[in-house]
């Protein structure tokens, strides 16, 4: 009998094989966080000063904060792309009907299939910034990076449910266009990934409250801002992430089940 573990094993193998066959892409993942931060720093310092950024965003080390935020951003992309993208890519390949007919229940399959890729991708990106954190803050910085990785993994719980909701939308909407590619930057935009949320219009600030990435970014900011991060603030963020995880996962199970029925009735492609 095929179960969750078999899906996880197969997807882990698939992800590793993909990286082995795309070595340049793998190498690029180590450069990406620096490229993102480099672009903002270069553009920012041409327009103004790092001190101004520190003051406005309220972080002591902008470079470290920007690097950590980039990792959170890339990990969020990884989980949405891994979970929701799985549906889309298989539809493009024409393999979605076979996947839907597999012995594993579709909601479970769609929820866990993207997990190995998301975990591996976020581990690679956090590893990529370790030299920089070591340079800026020594071993404490490395420790902080792993705390951020912990938040990313915790944040994956609600993101898993959230991405599954998107996956069910992709199942129902019979459009081959990749609506995911707009959804990902929208999530990052309302999460205030490189700037304070207060600068966004009120409506986007309200949306940001239901986006899990917002809380991971906030936790990252606390970790990057203080030598000893404030425990109370972090605990509050963890409560928020846990609440969102319950809500999104409950919703996704119901919606994915209905989407599965709709697809099996009307066809997957």
């Amino acid at each position: 009998m095929v179960g969750i573990m078999d899906v996880l094993r197969a997807q882990t193998f698939s992800t590793i094989a993909w990286f082995k066959n795309n070595r340049l892409m793998f190498a690029a993942m180590f450069i990406w966080p620096y490229l993102m931060v480099g672009m903002i720093l270069a553009l920012g310092t041409l327009y103004g000063s790092v001190e101004e950024y520190s003051k406005k965003v309220e972080v002591s080390n902008p470079a470290l904060y920007l690097l950590a935020s980039s990792v959170v951003a890339m990990s969020s992309i990884g989980i949405v792309d891994g979970v929701a993208g799985f549906t889309l890519y298989n539809r493009w390949l024409g393999t979605l009907p076979y996947i839907l007919m597999s012995p594993v229940r579709t909601p479970i399959l769609l929820m866990v299939a993207g997990l190995p890729e998301a975990l591996i991708t976020s581990f690679i990106t956090i590893s990529a910034i370790l030299p920089a954190t070591l340079y800026f803050e020594g071993l404490i910085g490395v420790g902080k990076s792993f705390i951020v990785y912990g938040f990313i993994i915790l944040g994956m719980l609600p993101m898993l449910g959230f991405s599954s909701l998107v996956a069910s939308l992709l199942l129902i909407v019979k459009e081959e266009s990749n609506i995911l590619s707009s959804l990902i930057p929208f999530i990052l935009l309302v999460s205030g990934v490189f700037y304070p949320l207060e600068i966004l219009p009120r409506v986007l600030q309200l949306i940001s409250r239901i986006v899990p990435t917002t809380y991971i970014i906030n936790a990252t900011k606390i970790v990057a801002s203080y030598y000893t991060p404030e425990f109370k603030g972090i605990l509050l963020i963890m409560y928020a992430i846990a609440s969102l995880a319950i809500v999104y996962n409950l919703m996704s199970f119901t919606v994915l089940g209905k989407a599965e029925k709709a697809v099996k009735r009307g066809g997957a492609i």
């Binding site: 553009l43 041409l46 103004g48 101004e52 459009e175 700037y195 966004l200």
Partner: protein, 266 residues
Amino acid sequence: MVDLRFKAIIWLHSLRLWRYRYSFINMALNSTLWVTIFLLGALMFMPKEELHVGMPLAFWGIAMWTIMSNSVWLIGAWTNFYISQGFVEEHMLVNISSANVLVGRVIPGLSVSTVAIILIYFILSAITGGVTEIARHPAMLIIGLLLLTIMSLSYGLILASISFRTGVPMVLLDLSNFIIFIIGGIATPVSILPTPIRTIAIIIPYSHPAEIVRYGAIGFETYLPLSFEMILSILIALAMSLTALKMIRKAEEYVRKHGVKAIGRM
């Protein structure tokens, strides 16, 4: 016959644009949102009292980058699709040049850029209180944008011609786009760049129409005399487009003998 082929290519790209209208909206939104994220981050470095000066510069920098990167992506990345679907051979058999088909990508390319630039303008205006000036010398602005588009289109075609013969990893396209944006006089005027980078910026072709665009939009003085920038930009645009056409013709000849190789993950 030539007229009919021309019509067919225009029809192909216009029809595809309509057929994939959600993709088109999605592409425009995608560009807009990514640009806004980076720009908002960069604007946090700018003191509030300098925003009225910096914002128009930033907006036009981003607008030009959108044109540039969309041209590269919508030609470069589409070539991947075009080759992998076997369209090169199919068009050869009916005696239609792939170069002309790829040039037609200017239709979706410019459409996506136009929508994205308008969206970026409205988003930035809503967030920062308004980009006050957008066209002080409209004629100069149009000429600058036109020259920039020709250069971007030619660059996209050069990439496409290379990808007919050898694999060009898409990651490198991203990297080169970022680098050109920062050090190529697109993000900021050449005169604001640090001295060593300024020299590099002058060598990068895009910096010259970019200077004309900024002069046309907000009256920012060009680094080299305006008339010289104009002549130089026209000559570069001409040279780039001729090189692109020559390279793509050569690539077609090569493909007839040896077949094609795709870009990207393939």
